[in-house]
Assembly symmetry: C2
DNA sequence: CGGTATCCTAGCTGATACTG
DNA sequence: CAGTATCAGCTAGGATACCG
Protein backbone atom coordinates (compact mmCIF):
# COMPACT_ATOMS: atom_id res chain seq x y z
CA UNK A 1 0.00 0.00 0.00
CA UNK A 2 1.26 3.35 -0.94
CA UNK A 3 0.20 5.14 2.15
CA UNK A 4 2.11 2.79 4.33
CA UNK A 5 5.28 3.54 2.51
CA UNK A 6 4.81 7.24 2.80
CA UNK A 7 4.41 7.09 6.48
CA UNK A 8 7.61 5.19 6.72
CA UNK A 9 9.44 7.88 4.94
CA UNK A 10 7.89 10.55 7.01
CA UNK A 11 9.07 8.69 10.01
CA UNK A 12 12.54 8.48 8.64
CA UNK A 13 12.71 12.13 7.79
CA UNK A 14 11.34 13.37 11.05
CA UNK A 15 13.44 11.04 13.08
CA UNK A 16 16.27 13.46 12.88
CA UNK A 17 14.17 16.58 12.90
CA UNK A 18 11.35 16.08 15.32
CA UNK A 19 13.67 16.45 18.23
CA UNK A 20 14.47 19.90 17.01
CA UNK A 21 10.99 21.17 16.52
CA UNK A 22 7.48 19.85 16.89
CA UNK A 23 6.37 21.96 14.00
CA UNK A 24 8.25 19.83 11.59
CA UNK A 25 6.08 16.84 12.21
CA UNK A 26 3.03 18.81 11.25
CA UNK A 27 4.91 20.24 8.36
CA UNK A 28 5.36 16.79 6.95
CA UNK A 29 1.68 16.80 6.37
CA UNK A 30 0.75 20.44 5.94
CA UNK A 31 3.74 21.18 3.80
CA UNK A 32 2.63 18.74 1.20
CA UNK A 33 0.94 19.98 -1.86
CA UNK A 34 -2.83 20.50 -1.66
CA UNK A 35 -2.96 19.90 2.07
CA UNK A 36 -3.56 23.52 2.86
CA UNK A 37 -6.02 23.98 0.05
CA UNK A 38 -8.01 21.05 1.27
CA UNK A 39 -8.12 22.43 4.76
CA UNK A 40 -9.12 25.78 3.43
CA UNK A 41 -11.95 24.45 1.38
CA UNK A 42 -13.14 22.29 4.17
CA UNK A 43 -13.36 25.34 6.34
CA UNK A 44 -15.70 27.13 3.97
CA UNK A 45 -18.24 24.37 3.73
CA UNK A 46 -19.49 22.61 6.78
CA UNK A 47 -19.07 19.22 5.20
CA UNK A 48 -18.04 18.26 1.73
CA UNK A 49 -18.03 15.17 -0.39
CA UNK A 50 -15.11 13.64 -2.17
CA UNK A 51 -15.86 14.54 -5.74
CA UNK A 52 -17.14 17.91 -4.75
CA UNK A 53 -13.81 18.62 -3.16
CA UNK A 54 -12.01 17.25 -6.13
CA UNK A 55 -13.93 19.55 -8.38
CA UNK A 56 -13.04 22.61 -6.36
CA UNK A 57 -9.40 21.69 -6.25
CA UNK A 58 -9.22 21.45 -9.99
CA UNK A 59 -6.04 19.74 -10.94
CA UNK A 60 -5.77 17.30 -8.12
CA UNK A 61 -6.09 13.63 -8.85
CA UNK A 62 -8.21 11.18 -6.94
CA UNK A 63 -5.09 9.44 -5.84
CA UNK A 64 -3.57 12.43 -4.18
CA UNK A 65 -6.76 13.79 -2.76
CA UNK A 66 -7.47 10.48 -1.15
CA UNK A 67 -3.96 10.34 0.14
CA UNK A 68 -3.99 13.82 1.64
CA UNK A 69 -7.36 13.24 3.19
CA UNK A 70 -6.06 10.10 4.77
CA UNK A 71 -3.03 11.84 6.15
CA UNK A 72 -5.06 14.72 7.46
CA UNK A 73 -7.41 12.31 9.09
CA UNK A 74 -4.44 10.60 10.66
CA UNK A 75 -3.34 13.91 12.10
CA UNK A 76 -6.79 14.40 13.46
CA UNK A 77 -7.51 17.40 11.32
CA UNK A 78 -10.23 15.96 9.20
CA UNK A 79 -13.07 13.67 10.08
CA UNK A 80 -14.73 11.34 7.70
CA UNK A 81 -18.34 10.35 7.78
CA UNK A 82 -19.20 7.33 5.73
CA UNK A 83 -22.69 6.50 4.60
CA UNK A 84 -22.83 2.84 3.73
CA UNK A 85 -25.01 2.88 0.73
CA UNK A 86 -25.01 2.63 -3.02
CA UNK A 87 -23.80 4.87 -4.42
CA UNK A 88 -21.36 5.55 -1.58
CA UNK A 89 -21.41 8.87 0.14
CA UNK A 90 -18.61 10.20 2.25
CA UNK A 91 -18.47 13.56 3.89
CA UNK A 92 -15.38 15.26 5.13
CA UNK A 93 -15.23 18.01 7.68
CA UNK A 94 -12.76 19.77 9.90
CA UNK A 95 -12.19 18.64 13.44
CA UNK A 96 -11.94 20.90 16.43
CA UNK A 97 -8.23 20.60 16.25
CA UNK A 98 -8.21 21.91 12.72
CA UNK A 99 -10.37 24.83 13.74
CA UNK A 100 -7.66 25.90 16.12
CA UNK A 101 -5.13 25.55 13.41
CA UNK A 102 -7.15 27.85 11.23
CA UNK A 103 -6.51 30.70 13.59
CA UNK A 104 -2.79 30.21 13.36
CA UNK A 105 -2.96 29.86 9.64
CA UNK A 106 -4.87 33.09 9.46
CA UNK A 107 -2.12 34.78 11.42
CA UNK A 108 0.33 33.38 8.97
CA UNK A 109 -1.76 34.76 6.16
CA UNK A 110 -1.80 38.17 7.73
CA UNK A 111 1.92 38.02 8.17
CA UNK A 112 2.37 37.00 4.57
CA UNK A 113 0.28 39.76 3.09
CA UNK A 114 1.65 42.35 5.46
CA UNK A 115 5.10 41.95 3.96
CA UNK A 116 4.06 41.16 0.48
CA UNK A 117 4.18 44.71 -0.73
CA UNK A 118 7.33 45.73 1.01
CA UNK A 119 9.69 43.94 -1.28
CA UNK A 120 11.10 47.10 -2.71
CA UNK A 121 14.15 46.82 -0.56
CA UNK A 122 17.42 45.07 -0.95
CA UNK A 123 15.72 41.74 -0.66
CA UNK A 124 14.03 42.56 -3.92
CA UNK A 125 17.28 42.00 -5.68
CA UNK A 126 17.34 38.36 -4.82
CA UNK A 127 13.64 38.01 -5.42
CA UNK A 128 13.89 39.48 -8.88
CA UNK A 129 16.94 37.48 -9.66
CA UNK A 130 14.99 34.42 -8.81
CA UNK A 131 11.75 35.21 -10.61
CA UNK A 132 13.29 36.06 -13.92
CA UNK A 133 15.92 33.47 -14.44
CA UNK A 134 19.10 35.47 -14.68
CA UNK B 1 20.28 28.07 -13.84
CA UNK B 2 18.55 25.76 -11.53
CA UNK B 3 17.15 28.37 -9.25
CA UNK B 4 15.47 30.19 -12.05
CA UNK B 5 13.53 27.14 -13.04
CA UNK B 6 12.31 26.54 -9.57
CA UNK B 7 10.90 29.97 -9.27
CA UNK B 8 9.04 29.47 -12.47
CA UNK B 9 7.37 26.43 -11.09
CA UNK B 10 6.49 28.17 -7.94
CA UNK B 11 4.91 30.86 -10.01
CA UNK B 12 2.98 28.37 -12.02
CA UNK B 13 1.79 26.48 -9.03
CA UNK B 14 0.71 29.47 -7.06
CA UNK B 15 -0.94 31.13 -9.99
CA UNK B 16 -4.09 29.21 -9.35
CA UNK B 17 -3.76 29.10 -5.63
CA UNK B 18 -2.51 32.45 -4.50
CA UNK B 19 -5.91 33.97 -4.99
CA UNK B 20 -7.23 31.51 -2.50
CA UNK B 21 -4.71 32.00 0.20
CA UNK B 22 -1.64 34.11 0.70
CA UNK B 23 -0.16 31.52 2.94
CA UNK B 24 0.39 29.20 0.07
CA UNK B 25 3.02 31.39 -1.46
CA UNK B 26 5.05 31.23 1.69
CA UNK B 27 4.35 27.58 1.96
CA UNK B 28 6.03 27.02 -1.37
CA UNK B 29 9.23 28.03 0.32
CA UNK B 30 8.73 27.03 3.92
CA UNK B 31 7.20 23.74 3.01
CA UNK B 32 10.32 22.63 1.29
CA UNK B 33 12.65 20.36 3.08
CA UNK B 34 15.26 21.97 5.32
CA UNK B 35 13.72 25.40 5.07
CA UNK B 36 12.33 25.33 8.56
CA UNK B 37 15.43 23.79 10.01
CA UNK B 38 17.52 26.50 8.49
CA UNK B 39 15.31 29.17 9.92
CA UNK B 40 15.40 27.50 13.27
CA UNK B 41 19.15 27.30 13.38
CA UNK B 42 19.51 30.82 12.20
CA UNK B 43 17.39 31.93 15.07
CA UNK B 44 19.66 30.37 17.64
CA UNK B 45 22.82 32.00 16.44
CA UNK B 46 22.90 35.66 15.67
CA UNK B 47 24.74 35.10 12.43
CA UNK B 48 26.09 31.96 10.94
CA UNK B 49 28.40 31.00 8.13
CA UNK B 50 27.67 28.66 5.31
CA UNK B 51 29.69 25.65 6.33
CA UNK B 52 28.82 26.12 9.93
CA UNK B 53 25.19 25.87 9.00
CA UNK B 54 25.88 22.92 6.81
CA UNK B 55 27.57 21.16 9.67
CA UNK B 56 24.64 21.65 11.99
CA UNK B 57 22.18 20.46 9.40
CA UNK B 58 24.01 17.22 8.96
CA UNK B 59 22.76 15.54 5.85
CA UNK B 60 22.09 18.55 3.71
CA UNK B 61 24.21 19.13 0.67
CA UNK B 62 25.82 22.37 -0.36
CA UNK B 63 23.58 22.46 -3.35
CA UNK B 64 20.37 22.36 -1.42
CA UNK B 65 21.54 24.57 1.38
CA UNK B 66 22.58 27.19 -1.09
CA UNK B 67 19.30 26.84 -2.87
CA UNK B 68 17.17 27.14 0.23
CA UNK B 69 19.18 30.07 1.45
CA UNK B 70 18.62 31.77 -1.85
CA UNK B 71 14.90 31.18 -1.73
CA UNK B 72 14.65 32.35 1.82
CA UNK B 73 16.57 35.43 0.92
CA UNK B 74 14.17 36.00 -1.93
CA UNK B 75 11.29 35.87 0.51
CA UNK B 76 13.05 38.36 2.68
CA UNK B 77 13.51 35.96 5.53
CA UNK B 78 17.24 35.71 5.48
CA UNK B 79 19.87 38.32 4.90
CA UNK B 80 23.25 37.62 3.52
CA UNK B 81 26.37 39.50 4.39
CA UNK B 82 29.25 38.95 2.07
CA UNK B 83 32.83 39.72 2.97
CA UNK B 84 34.81 40.07 -0.20
CA UNK B 85 38.00 38.41 0.78
CA UNK B 86 40.05 35.29 0.44
CA UNK B 87 38.95 32.94 1.71
CA UNK B 88 35.37 34.09 1.22
CA UNK B 89 33.20 34.69 4.21
CA UNK B 90 29.46 34.94 4.14
CA UNK B 91 27.21 35.34 7.09
CA UNK B 92 23.53 34.60 7.17
CA UNK B 93 21.04 35.95 9.61
CA UNK B 94 17.33 36.33 10.07
CA UNK B 95 15.53 39.44 8.97
CA UNK B 96 12.94 41.26 11.00
CA UNK B 97 10.32 39.62 8.93
CA UNK B 98 11.56 36.20 9.89
CA UNK B 99 11.59 37.16 13.54
CA UNK B 100 7.90 37.82 13.31
CA UNK B 101 7.40 34.53 11.62
CA UNK B 102 9.12 32.80 14.48
CA UNK B 103 6.37 33.85 16.80
CA UNK B 104 3.76 32.33 14.59
CA UNK B 105 5.79 29.21 14.17
CA UNK B 106 6.09 28.95 17.88
CA UNK B 107 2.32 29.10 18.16
CA UNK B 108 2.13 26.36 15.63
CA UNK B 109 4.56 24.36 17.70
CA UNK B 110 2.46 24.84 20.78
CA UNK B 111 -0.58 23.77 18.90
CA UNK B 112 1.21 20.71 17.62
CA UNK B 113 2.43 19.52 20.98
CA UNK B 114 -0.82 20.33 22.68
CA UNK B 115 -2.60 17.72 20.61
CA UNK B 116 0.23 15.32 20.29
CA UNK B 117 -0.74 13.27 23.29
CA UNK B 118 -4.45 13.27 22.74
CA UNK B 119 -4.52 10.85 19.89
CA UNK B 120 -6.25 8.16 21.87
CA UNK B 121 -9.59 8.94 20.30
CA UNK B 122 -11.26 7.78 17.17
CA UNK B 123 -8.74 9.67 15.10
CA UNK B 124 -6.21 7.23 16.41
CA UNK B 125 -7.68 4.57 14.22
CA UNK B 126 -6.63 6.32 11.09
CA UNK B 127 -3.35 7.35 12.59
CA UNK B 128 -2.46 3.83 13.51
CA UNK B 129 -3.62 2.53 10.20
CA UNK B 130 -1.29 4.93 8.55
CA UNK B 131 1.75 4.45 10.74
CA UNK B 132 1.80 0.72 10.58
CA UNK B 133 1.08 -0.11 7.02
CA UNK B 134 -2.10 -2.09 7.17
C1' DC C 1 -19.71 7.82 -5.96
C1' DG C 2 -15.51 7.03 -3.69
C1' DG C 3 -11.72 5.06 -3.67
C1' DT C 4 -7.47 1.82 -4.67
C1' DA C 5 -3.84 -0.34 -7.80
C1' DT C 6 -0.58 0.48 -11.31
C1' DC C 7 2.33 2.75 -14.35
C1' DC C 8 4.94 6.79 -15.71
C1' DT C 9 7.01 11.23 -15.59
C1' DA C 10 8.90 15.35 -13.56
C1' DG C 11 11.39 17.37 -10.23
C1' DC C 12 13.61 17.33 -5.78
C1' DT C 13 17.86 15.76 -3.56
C1' DG C 14 22.33 14.56 -2.59
C1' DA C 15 27.24 13.19 -3.93
C1' DT C 16 31.03 14.53 -6.47
C1' DA C 17 34.05 17.53 -8.76
C1' DC C 18 35.46 21.91 -9.80
C1' DT C 19 36.07 27.40 -9.49
C1' DG C 20 37.10 32.24 -7.28
C1' DC D 1 35.51 28.99 2.46
C1' DA D 2 31.47 29.43 -0.37
C1' DG D 3 29.43 28.20 -3.73
C1' DT D 4 28.02 26.23 -8.76
C1' DA D 5 27.73 22.58 -12.39
C1' DT D 6 26.75 18.07 -13.39
C1' DC D 7 25.09 13.58 -12.85
C1' DA D 8 22.13 9.99 -10.84
C1' DG D 9 18.59 7.98 -7.58
C1' DC D 10 14.37 8.39 -5.59
C1' DT D 11 9.86 9.84 -4.74
C1' DA D 12 5.82 12.58 -5.07
C1' DG D 13 2.24 13.39 -8.07
C1' DG D 14 -0.76 12.69 -12.13
C1' DA D 15 -3.37 9.62 -15.52
C1' DT D 16 -5.67 5.60 -16.22
C1' DA D 17 -8.30 1.58 -15.24
C1' DC D 18 -10.82 -0.88 -12.37
C1' DC D 19 -13.67 -2.54 -7.70
C1' DG D 20 -17.40 -1.93 -3.68
Amino acid sequence: MRLGLKEDEAGKKTSMQSTTCEVLTIWEVLGKRWALLILKNLSTKEAIRFNELKKVLSGISSTVLSERLFELEGEGLVSKKIYTQIPPKVEYSLTTRAKELEVILKDLGKWASRWKYLEGTKTMAAATAGKKNI
